[in-house]
């Protein structure tokens, strides 16, 4: 899940490789008749050099050029990805190392060895070394950054530089999935940097000018080290505009003012689907967002497993997909992260069965249960789901009222978030092992589903201590998923695609883990 503000707090792990070369991915679900959308895996034409790409993304009050706050808003994030290279990125479910050449654990995953790529340079020509990487990791982990949460397992003091190209990273506890954490926006800047608002980067572009809350102009490096890996930069310049309103961003593309607009609404996608001057694009399905009704296992009536199951059977998932996602989404099966390689595809689908829900409640002595679902219109899908559930629950004999919270208050009130019996959640896609640890278990940062059982804690611990090939690691993830499917507090019922709008000429835009903050490194303007 994530917490956007007027489009700000997105931790949106949007689509995998959204290349703006085609239309959206097919998103039929569960046999329902859905609008057909498609995506392409890469640019359909050879890259063309030159030109300026104009793109609009949501900004926020937190806009800054500081590398330590680069994930604060969509527009800052997109800009940061152009200025600072990262150790690695996520493409689909796989890590694609960038500044790191390789990342390997020891036998019990208590230490990880990072080999830094040879030949990487900062924009002033300085060579990028393991010292710079360790400094960046220590700085990101030691400050209140969003990366610090993922890097919390790192022991910065015990970590060291072995040689100019090799780092030994020590962890506080074994973690076989620490490679995924290292692929989460670990921006690298020179060792000794003190002015983080003007930190040098090794990325393909440099910031030429910036006006807070308005625009930034970036120019391509002619000496970009990464060109040897294949790819851009192909553009001469990129101009990024900070536009809070999604409708205004779309209008900007329609009027020819922008070439690309991130964060477009589903209703606009439907309205513009046949506009020949636009391309409506979305993410591959593994990076769609999950919609859930979150039940707190420590609050009545969800201390009783029957209440949990009753809510799950009361939800008409097909109807949610048709109405809430306008048919563009797909059904989810009470587990996050569908279509990721870590996801257990054997999890069965729970049918919509209001009679069974009624019986479960009656058997548990909860025949006249009344529920209030906390929600907000913070992001599209939450309030709509809650409203739809009110009617669906009636069929199961559950009286539900909607408690709508102002968008600005919804996620800032953490105490309430962690104690509310029933609320809506929109989980933005992120690598499943990280996501499960972030939201479930006694050590979770945001345990919305309340207290964790020793069994769940044991499974999560086992997941982190599993070292080895992907199949072995996936099995450990499946065990956690199975437990949550049976006894967890999240009823994950639908998946919703994030959407962007682009001119047909724009090619080579890649999500690389973050659809709403795409990577424009290899973007170009086709004819």
């Amino acid at each position: 899940m994530t917490f956007h503000q007027i489009d700000r707090r997105t931790l949106l792990r949007g689509a995998g490789a959204l290349m703006a070369g085609g239309l959206l991915a097919a998103c039929s679900s569960g046999g329902s008749s859905s609008p057909q959308l498609s995506t392409s895996a890469g640019p359909s034409v050879a890259p063309r050099k030159g030109g300026r790409l104009r793109a609009a993304f949501a900004g926020s009050a937190a806009e800054t050029t500081s590398v330590l706050q680069a994930t604060g808003s969509a527009v800052d994030y997109v800009r940061a990805r152009l200025i600072w290279d990262t150790l690695g990125e996520i493409d689909g479910s796989a890590t694609v190392w960038r500044l790191a050449e390789s990342v390997e654990p020891n036998t019990d995953a208590t230490r990880w060895t990072v080999r830094v790529r040879d030949g990487a340079t900062f924009s002033d020509g300085r060579k990028l070394t393991a010292e710079d990487v360790l400094f960046s990791l220590r700085t990101l982990a030691g400050n209140p950054t969003t990366q610090a949460g993922q890097l919390s397992g790192l022991d910065p003091v015990a970590s060291s530089v072995r040689d100019p190209r090799t780092l030994d990273l020590a962890l506080k506890a074994p973690d076989g999935f620490f490679d995924l954490a290292l692929a989460q926006s670990v921006f690298v800047f020179p060792a000794g940097t003190t002015d983080f608002e003007h930190a040098l980067g090794s990325g393909p572009f440099v910031l030429k000018s910036w006006t807070r809350g308005a625009s930034s102009l970036l120019t391509a490096r002619t000496d970009y080290w990464g060109a040897s890996l294949g790819g851009g930069p192909y553009l001469d310049e990129i101009e990024l505009a900070s536009v809070a309103d999604a409708g205004a961003r779309l209008n900007g593309v329609k009027a020819g003012q922008f070439d690309y607009a991130g964060g477009v609404s589903l209703t606009a996608a439907r309205a513009e689907a046949k506009n020949p001057d636009l391309r409506i694009v979305t993410a591959p399905q593994e990076l769609w967002s999950d919609l859930a009704l979150t039940m707190n296992l420590g609050a009545q009536p969800f201390t009783k497993p029957e209440a949990l199951q009753a809510v799950r059977y009361a939800i008409d998932r097909e109807a949610m997909v048709r109405t809430v996602t306008l048919g563009y989404g797909e059904v989810a099966d009470d587990a996050l992260g569908r279509h990721q390689s870590w996801y257990d595809t054997t999890l069965p689908r729970r049918a919509h069965d209001p009679e069974k829900a009624k019986k479960l409640l009656a058997d548990a002595g909860l025949g006249d249960v009344r529920l209030s679902v906390r929600t907000s219109d913070y992001e599209y899908g939450s309030l709509e789901s809650a409203t739809a559930f009110v009617q669906q629950a009636q069929a199961a004999g559950i009286a539900v009222t909607v408690d709508k919270i102002p968008a600005a208050d919804y996620y800032t009130d953490i105490k309430t978030l962690l104690s509310t019996p029933l609320q809506t959640n929109l989980y933005h896609a992120m690598p499943l092992p990280l996501q499960l640890s972030f939201f479930y278990g006694s050590k979770a940062s945001y345990p919305f589903t309340g207290p964790a059982s020793p069994t769940l804690d044991g499974l999560i611990a086992a997941m982190h201590t599993t070292v080895g090939n992907d199949a072995k690691r996936a099995k450990a993830v499946h065990d956690v998923q199975h437990h949550l499917y049976d006894l967890g507090g999240d009823a994950v019922f639908a998946r919703i695609p994030p959407v962007a709008a682009t001119k047909p000429s724009v090619q080579g835009v890649q999500a690389r883990g973050f659809f709403d903050y795409p990577c424009l490194r290899d973007a170009f303007l086709g004819s």
Binding site: M1, T2, F3, Q5, I6, R8, R9, L11, A56, S60, A61, A62, E63, T64, S66, Q69, T71, G72, N143, P144, T145, T146, A148, G149, S152, K208, S209, W210, T211, R212, G213, A214, S215, S216, L217, E239, A241, S242, V243, A244, D245, G247, A248, R249, N251, G252, K254, A255, G256, Q257, F258, A407, A408, D409, Y411, T412, D413, I414, S445, Y446
Partner: protein, 328 residues
């Protein structure tokens, strides 16, 4: 001591009124700051949770909260802020670390420009059209103006703005759909960014002002003084300038002043619709981010403007209207 009351009595009446009004204004601003601070303090969450909730762990939020001084009691923070504010330091933004005075100045400049351009068109157009229609009450010209203004008044700003975007930006491609300045530029250097927001703001405000002035003109035109002047053979243009116009404009002045304060304080709908970087969107974003220093900075500026413009409007109305002047 016997001389003091005499001295006080000797102060010109206008100066005394100005001093009284200024003291009232300072009190109003102080009360506004306390109220705004209390409101932000009572809102759920704080700047640390607004920035990091859901994306970093509780430990990082606690560190940020400590860095921002948010673990101090609210009254301590308010007094700390007030002490510095009285010394000209409005603090730094919790959200991005920039001095509040710099942030507010950037946005205020943009809002001021948008408001001033709108006002410069609004006042002459509002008075002129209202006068023109009022003097032709019941005739075809008046009916056209009345119908036009009635239509515009009934359309919300966002509808007018959207229609303008669809027509002039998306349809004809003459003007930008989004009024975001290019990097290193501002609306001062890119005046084309102002056209659609100004037209949007004008649409509703002009209609309201035309209708206000028109009704004032009709009322004044039927007064005994105007009738007497006309019977006495005073030329019509003199009747209009001497009797009708002042009588029609005086009631419109306070309304105009309030509208100007609204314009200068930022206009949320127009700013949001066009992405214009003004004060109103900055205030909304700062509120959502629990960025108390910025909220206070903008609130005080807007409150100060409102108070000043209302005082100016009262003074202007008093000058234009002898009866009101005597009443004061």
């Amino acid at each position: 001591m016997r001389g003091v009351p005499r001295l006080v009595r000797g102060v010109p009446r206008l100066l005394r009124r100005a001093l009284r009004a200024s003291a009232g204004a300072v009190g109003t601003l102080l009360a506004a700051s306390a109220l705004v601070f209390a409101t932000t303090a009572l809102a759920p969450g704080d700047a640390a949770t607004a920035r990091l909730a859901g994306r970093a762990g509780p430990e990082q939020i606690a560190v940020l909260r400590h860095q921002l001084g948010l673990d101090d009691p609210p009254w301590t923070r308010y007094l700390h802020w007030l002490w510095h504010a009285l010394h000209g330091d409005l603090g730094t933004s919790y959200a991005n670390g920039t001095p509040v005075s710099q942030l507010v100045a950037e946005r205020a400049g943009n809002s001021l420009l948008l408001g001033a351009v709108t006002a410069l068109l609004l006042v002459p157009l509002g008075v002129g059209l209202g006068l023109w229609a009022g003097l032709r009450a019941g005739r075809a010209a008046d009916r056209v103006v009345s119908l036009g203004t009635l239509t515009l008044v009934s359309l919300p700003e966002f509808v007018v703005g959207t229609l303008l975007v669809l027509l002039f930006a998306v349809g004809l491609g003459w003007l930008p759909a989004v009024s975001v300045p290019a990097a290193g530029q501002s609306p001062f250097t890119q005046p084309e960014l102002l056209v659609l927001p100004v037209l949007t703001l004008l649409s509703v405000s002009l209609a309201q002002n035309v209708r206000l002035v028109r009704s004032g003109v009709i009322e004044a035109a039927g007064s005994d003084a105007v009738l007497a002047a006309r019977l006495g053979g005073v030329p019509e243009h003199r009747v209009v300038l001497r009797w009708i116009l002042p009588a029609a404009v005086v009631p419109a002045v306070p309304v105009l002043a309030r509208y100007l304060a609204y314009l200068l304080g930022g206009t949320l709908v127009a700013e949001s619709l066009f992405g214009y970087p003004g004060l109103a969107t900055a205030l909304v974003n700062a509120t959502a981010s629990r960025d108390t220093p910025v909220v206070l900075g903008i609130a005080l500026l807007v409150a100060g403007l409102t108070v000043t413009l209302n005082l100016a409007a009262d003074a202007l109305a008093a000058l234009l209207n002898p009866a009101a002047r005597r009443a004061h």
